[in-house]
């Protein structure tokens, strides 16, 4: 064997496994639509995290501001949508086509169908024989019994009201039924999926996430909640003024097909996105699909501001003051953090290191139009700005530890979208960036390091406003807002792509994020909650106001409001505590901006003592 043969065999064996790729491609292609976007560009964490499923222990919960029973995670009894899909997938692939036993099947349709359509669809399956209809799930309730169903069909046969159906038929037809274009999910009856527990999985048309009236403002006043219940909520006594938290067996996930990781942006008509080429295959265009270009490290042109700085030291009675004059004209914002100052003008960003010697501006400035500070902590300041196209797709990262300013053009990552808010998870050392286009909002996980620069991973694409609220381990917590439905809270598993609705508030809730981007508060005029990310629980807390600060420490959530610090214990009890808790301090820097004029920015440090 020659070396050539050796490497040929080695690479053929280990590089790409065609059979594995083929089988995975078929599995991916045949999965129910909203799950198939999971983890395309992720390296999954060990195992598949179980989706959080919440139960509500009392209907009266959340009706008043008193701290009622908490919402508990009850994994032993809850079957999340992700688990149901997984079960269905297992059945799909494992069921032998020759199997000939009579089974119950619970079938959710992609959109409500009429009884006549439903019967027609099933009759299209070859050799289907007899199907017994046991229950029909309508948006207004459930009809059980052959006679009752026949009576409903006779009277309302053409009305598109059927969300799901329970049938009895031979198991050998299971795959054919799942493959029907009108069927979203076909599930076999089991201990977990039965008449007591089954509820259709909500599909997108009834979900405000694909509401055409996109861009609901997040500051919209809470509207009067409608009287009708949310889709597939069969508890007619529940009003939308209560928080509707899916109970076991109810639709735990009303996740739109469009709230999904955009790894393969799904188009109803792929041919719109890549035209068919009927001509003979040509060599691939080598100019396509290159990796993103990097914006130049340093600016080509410093704007006309004369960047010189002087330092002088003045004194006041009993107090020596260091004064730094940064000759940046027309500053629109100056941010001080630690011993650094970042000055923004209409078209530039300047980084200064303060403390005795003013750093030379070379390598510490960047040209951005309309810069805005998007994120700040003691180590990093992130500024977004507009490039030559006018779109907000430039990111400048002021690395305060290394006194460096780096600018990245992320237009290729964002496409038509523009940069929005940026949040940072301390524990994960990751940023979560929101970007918005005319029709969609996107959430990206972003990693920034001095070694590798900036990396974008797409997480979610939604045709509705979405906000990130917190992150714990591999779970991202999101909210959406619709003027009619109000705020909804979701969890998103970043390793599997599983999404679960946690709560629907029926009113607009404002997010108050924790200092460490884990736990967070949701506050309205009437209701106030803390979502304890350590335990996945939503807790009513009377004391909250919009100035509350939150942080996790030693596995517990602490919050500070009106100068008092409280601890949320493992049993959800709340008690005031004393002592040191690591809330971030607004006055972490010794420096402060003393004055901004049209010609300069004056930053001072009060030494409080003799300076030498």
């Amino acid at each position: 064997m020659t070396e050539k043969d050796f490497y040929r065999e080695l690479m053929s064996r280990y590089a790409l496994d065609p059979e594995k790729i083929r089988q995975n491609a078929l599995k991916q292609a045949k999965k129910p639509s909203w799950q198939k976007f999971a983890a395309d560009y992720w390296k999954p964490a060990a195992g598949v995290a179980a989706a959080v499923a919440l139960t509500v222990s009392a209907v009266g919960y959340m009706n008043a501001r008193s701290s009622g029973p908490d919402i508990k995670v009850d994994p032993a009894s809850a079957l999340s949508a992700a688990q149901r899909l997984s079960e269905a997938e297992q059945n799909y692939y494992n069921l032998q086509s020759s199997e000939n036993r009579t089974v119950n099947m619970y079938i959710t349709f992609r959109e409500p169908v009429s009884c006549n359509d439903m019967v027609m669809a099933f009759s299209g399956i070859a050799d289907v024989g007899e199907i017994e209809y046991d229950a029909v799930y309508l948006s207004s309730g459930t009809i059980r019994g052959t006679d009752e169903i026949a009576g409903y069909k006779a009277e309302h046969g053409d009305e598109k009201t059927v969300a799901a159906v329970k049938i009895s038929t031979l198991s050998m037809y299971y795959r054919s039924i799942q493959d029907l274009s009108s069927v979203y999910l076909a599930e076999m009856g089991s201990d977990e999926i039965n008449d007591d527990t089954f509820c259709p999985i909500t599909v997108e048309d009834n979900d405000p996430l694909i509401n055409d009236q996109y861009y609901v403002t997040t500051t919209a006043a809470a509207t009067t909640a409608p009287v009708t219940t949310t889709p597939f909520s069969f508890d007619s006594e529940k009003t939308t003024s209560e928080i509707s938290v899916p109970a076991i067996g109810e639709s735990a996930d009303s996740v739109s097909d469009t709230l999904k990781p955009p790894a393969t942006s799904e188009s109803d008509d792929p041919e719109e996105e890549y035209p068919e080429d009927d001509e003979e295959f040509e060599e691939p265009d080598e100019t396509s699909a290159e990796t993103q270009e990097t914006a130049p490290e340093t600016t080509a042109e410093i704007p006309a501001n004369e960047i010189t700085s002087t330092t002088y030291y003045g004194s006041d009675v009993g107090l020596l003051t260091e004064i730094y004059e940064l000759n940046v004209s027309n500053s629109i914002e100056t941010v001080v953090s630690g011993d650094n100052a970042v000055v923004l003008t209409k078209n530039g960003v300047y980084l200064y290191t303060l403390g005795g010697v003013i750093r030379d501006q070379n390598g510490s400035s960047a040209e951005l139009n309309s810069p805005k500070v998007a994120f700040k902590n003691e180590n990093t300041i992130i500024i977004t700005g507009c490039g030559a196209s006018g779109a907000r797709n430039l990111i400048s990262v002021a690395d305060l530890l290394n006194n460096e300013l780096h600018t990245y053009d992320v237009s290729a990552n964002l496409g038509a979208a523009e940069l929005g808010t940026i949040h940072y998870s301390t524990a994960q050392d990751k940023y979560f960036v929101k970007a918005i286009s005319e029709t969609s909002s996107f959430i990206y996980e972003v990693q920034i390091s001095s070694e590798t620069g900036i990396q974008f991973r797409p997480l979610i694409e939604a045709q509705a406003p979405v906000s990130v609220a917190g992150c714990k381990n591999n779970t991202l917590y999101l909210t959406t807002l619709d003027t009619v439905i109000g705020t909804k809270l979701y969890s998103f598993d970043m390793s599997t792509g599983d999404m679960a609705e946690l709560a629907a508030f029926g009113q607009t809730m404002k997010i108050r994020r924790g200092d460490d981007f884990e736990s967070f508060a949701l506050i309205s005029e009437n209701d106030k909650y803390i979502f304890d990310a350590n335990r996945g629980m939503l807790i009513s807390v009377e004391q909250l106001n919009e100035d509350v600060q939150l942080i996790s420490q030693n596995g517990l959530t602490y919050f500070r409001v009106d100068g008092l610090v409280y601890e949320i214990a493992a049993d959800s009890s709340i008690s005031a505590v004393f002592g040191t808790v690591g809330f971030s301090s607004a006055s972490a820097s010794e420096f402060r901006v003393n004055e901004i004029t049209s010609e300069k920015v004056v930053v001072v440090r009060d030494n409080g003592g003799n300076w030498q």
């Binding site: 064997m1 020659t2 070396e3 050539k4 043969d5 050796f6 490497y7 080695l10 690479m11 053929s12 064996r13 280990y14 590089a15 790409l16 065609p18 790729i21 083929r22 995975n24 491609a25 078929l26 991916q28 292609a29 198939k36 395309d40 560009y41 493959d179 790894a263 393969t264 942006s265 792929p270 996105e273 890549y274 068919e276 080429d277 009927d278 001509e279 003979e280 295959f281 040509e282 691939p284 265009d285 080598e286 396509s288 699909a289 990796t291 993103q292 990097t294 490290e297 780096h406 990245y408 053009d409 990552n413 001095s450 590798t452 620069g453 900036i454 990396q455 974008f456 991973r457 797409p458």
Partner: protein, 180 residues
């Protein structure tokens, strides 16, 4: 359309096009490991298309799948590098390269034993794939896709000398590291 006929058509196109499509994807994307995910997406999207709209209208299946590949590679989110990667190593001279090329064609009995040692063989592969993404691509395109080095250089937008150096230097390094 019956799913059996659909699967049969898919499998036929898959086997006919995998070689050219994988060659394209490996050329375009970051690394061998990422290519597998992208290939999966390409063929999944192809299956969805023919399941939804049929395949009677597809005249040239290879061109069709390659167009999907272009789309998938375009949407693939690579990372923005702060600095372009710069490897610095002493280049082989022409004489050295000729010597390495000659060595590669020489029969060596021990290499068959190495391949039979699954753990060692996997280590050698991982060493190639994880060291430098470009090296993995060069090895795959040259040894599996049978592309000539000048073709590879053109596809990867590199000069021929760099491609040769990366290839030969890796082979020489592995000889020492794994006692080949």
């Amino acid at each position: 359309m019956g799913s059996e006929a659909l699967d049969a058509y898919f499998n036929k196109v898959y086997s006919e096009t995998f070689s050219s499509v994988s060659r394209y994807v490996v050329s375009k994307c970051g690394s061998i490991q990422e290519s597998e995910d992208i290939l999966q997406n390409i063929y999944a999207r192809f299956y969805q298309r023919i399941a939804k709209k049929g395949y009677e209208d597809i005249e040239n299946s290879e061109a069709f799948v390659i167009n999907i590949a272009k789309f998938e590679c375009k949407n693939y989110f690579g990372f923005v590098k702060k600095h372009s990667s710069a490897t610095s190593f002493a280049d082989f001279t022409e004489e050295q390269m000729v010597a390495v090329e000659a060595e590669m064609s020489r029969e060596q009995k021990s290499l068959e034993d190495v391949l039979c040692n699954t753990m060692l063989a996997k280590q050698i592969f991982d060493d190639i794939a994880n060291d430098d993404p470009v090296v993995g691509k060069i090895f795959y395109l040259h040894f599996v896709c049978d592309m000539k080095l000048d073709e590879i250089a053109k596809n990867l937008d590199m000069n021929l000398s760099s491609v040769k150096n990366k290839l030969y230097r890796t082979i020489e390094r592995q000889k020492k590291k794994f006692n080949l």
